[in-house]
């Protein structure tokens, strides 16, 4: 856990995000029909989902660790990762909705991937409701860890497997070519990949900060 107290990766994350903000708005992008300049949203929309996936992944790992060891800190890591993940989830959803308004015409176009994302959002809200329903600390930690591990593969199925099987407006789904295939030139890749890393680091940073606050609160409450 020493990693979370080091600062090099936080600085790297900030630099990368600033780089993508500047380069993302200034570097040329391919002129595509329908998308036009909105293609720049790919630097924000997709990396936010990546950040969400990583923090949810971390929370699952720590839920498993909690079940193996019953250490309370692991439960705190799991819940704060989920909280951060839900925040990034909302950001990804909203940025996607704005993008959809300009390219597909509606904020919500009943696209399978949008619908799946909404369902998966409910899944994680249910996790928080479940935590509120149990009073006893250890029982709450154990049962919510179990539900978290149960929910993660279902979220993966929802977001990455089901939309691919039907007609979707999202690229890379239902026979649509994926973005990387020919829409994206090397200029865009030079921004997108750093953006992935940058936003992932930022989301992990937020999660660690929340975890550390929670740890302090916990210590104060236990005295």
């Amino acid at each position: 856990m020493k990693f979370i107290y080091q600062s090099w990766w936080k600085i790297l994350g900030v630099i990368l995000v600033f780089y993508t903000m500047i380069a993302g708005f200034l570097l040329p992008v391919p002129k595509l029909p329908l998308l036009h300049e909105t293609i720049r949203n790919v630097y924000f929309h997709v990396p936010m989902w990546m950040g969400m996936l990583v923090v949810f992944g971390i929370s699952v790992v720590y839920s498993i660790k909690y079940l193996a060891t019953s250490r309370e800190e692991y439960d705190l890591v799991a819940v704060e990762s989920v909280n951060t993940g839900i925040f990034f989830y909302a950001l990804g959803l909203v940025s996607g909705m704005l993008w959809a308004k300009f390219t597909w015409g509606e904020y919500w176009s009943s696209d399978p991937k949008q619908n799946s994302a909404a369902i998966a959002f409910l899944l994680y809200c249910a996790y928080l409701v479940l935590r509120n329903a149990i009073d006893e600390d250890q029982k709450r930690a154990r049962i919510s860890a179990i539900y978290n591990i149960f929910a993660f593969p279902i979220m993966i199925v929802l977001l990455f497997i089901l939309p691919r099987m039907t007609d979707s407006l999202h690229p890379g789904n239902g026979g649509n070519p994926a973005f990387g295939r020919y829409d994206m030139d090397n200029n865009m890749r030079a921004v997108l990949y750093p953006a992935f890393i940058g936003w992932i680091l930022i989301s992990v940073w937020i999660a660690t900060l929340r975890y550390r606050i929670r740890l302090i609160e916990n210590k104060q409450n236990s005295i």
């Binding site: 079940l67 799946s116 369902i119 998966a120 409910l122 899944l123 249910a126 409701v129 479940l130 329903a133 149990i134 029982k139 154990r142 049962i143 860890a145 179990i146 539900y147 591990i149 149960f150 929910a151 593969p153 279902i154 199925v157 929802l158 497997i161 089901l162 099987m165």
Partner: protein
């Protein structure tokens, strides 16, 4: 082999208990019949409902919604009805996996029977022509089994978290939504009499969801029952 023996023994006990009281079966069957009847009355307030253009669509969706709520009601009982001390007794004589497996298989049997009967009752009130009857029944059976694998684990979690029905619904609906989306899609194509090979892929996904859910449940359940 020990696991298999214990599972079979526990399954026998579940079935015998149910056979003696017939509480879950009769209760849920009555629930289904009354829901179907309420829907029948409610929809027939609109004249010419049966000849309207969206009838077959409503027919299919309504059926799955009725089955969904029946399944929640039937399977929520599986862990909620067990008293704490009786559960403790099971765990002293059998492995937790055997307890979960026996409950899952029992629920799958109960749900297949119930959804089969529900479809018969439903077809009496809401007349409709199904293009591929055998395939539709197969979809309904698969649906019943998938509902029971998912809901058994969720009801185990909900039972540990204070036995309330709200939690059962909140926890299970997001989990069951992808399943019900697939089911409605396959059953609609069966109703329209489309070629069977079109829904093989969707059946594959359903089977995969079942396998994943059962595997995760078997891994996680031993942690869940410990108190």
């Amino acid at each position: 082999m020990n696991l298999l023996r214990q599972t079979v023994a526990l399954l026998k006990k579940e079935i015998i208990l149910e056979w003696r009281s017939k509480y879950a079966f009769n209760g849920v069957l009555l629930y289904i019949v009354s829901t179907v009847f309420v829907c029948y009355i409610a929809f027939n307030l609109t004249p010419n409902f049966k000849s309207s253009s969206g009838y077959s669509l409503v027919w299919n969706v309504l059926f799955w919604i009725i089955i969904l709520f029946a399944a929640v009601n039937a399977i929520a009982k599986s862990f909620l009805q067990e008293s704490r001390s009786r559960l403790l007794y099971y765990y002293t004589i059998a492995s937790p996996q055997a307890v979960l497996l026996s409950k899952t298989i029992y629920n799958a049997l109960l749900m297949s029977l119930l959804s089969f009967l529900a479809l018969l009752v439903y077809m009496v009130f809401f007349t409709n022509t199904i293009g591929d009857t055998f395939w539709y029944f197969l979809v309904v059976l698969t649906g019943g089994i998938t509902f029971s694998t998912v809901f058994t684990m969720v009801s185990a979690i909900a039972a540990k978290a204070g036995n309330n029905g709200t939690l059962m619904a909140v926890l299970s609906f997001p989990v069951i939504l992808p399943v019900i989306m697939l089911l409605i899609k396959i059953s609609k194509s069966a109703m329209d009499g489309l070629d069977r090979s079109l829904s093989y892929g969707n059946f594959g996904v359903l089977a995969a969801i079942n396998v994943i859910v059962i595997a995760i449940s078997l891994i996680l359940f031993p942690y869940l029952w410990r108190d």
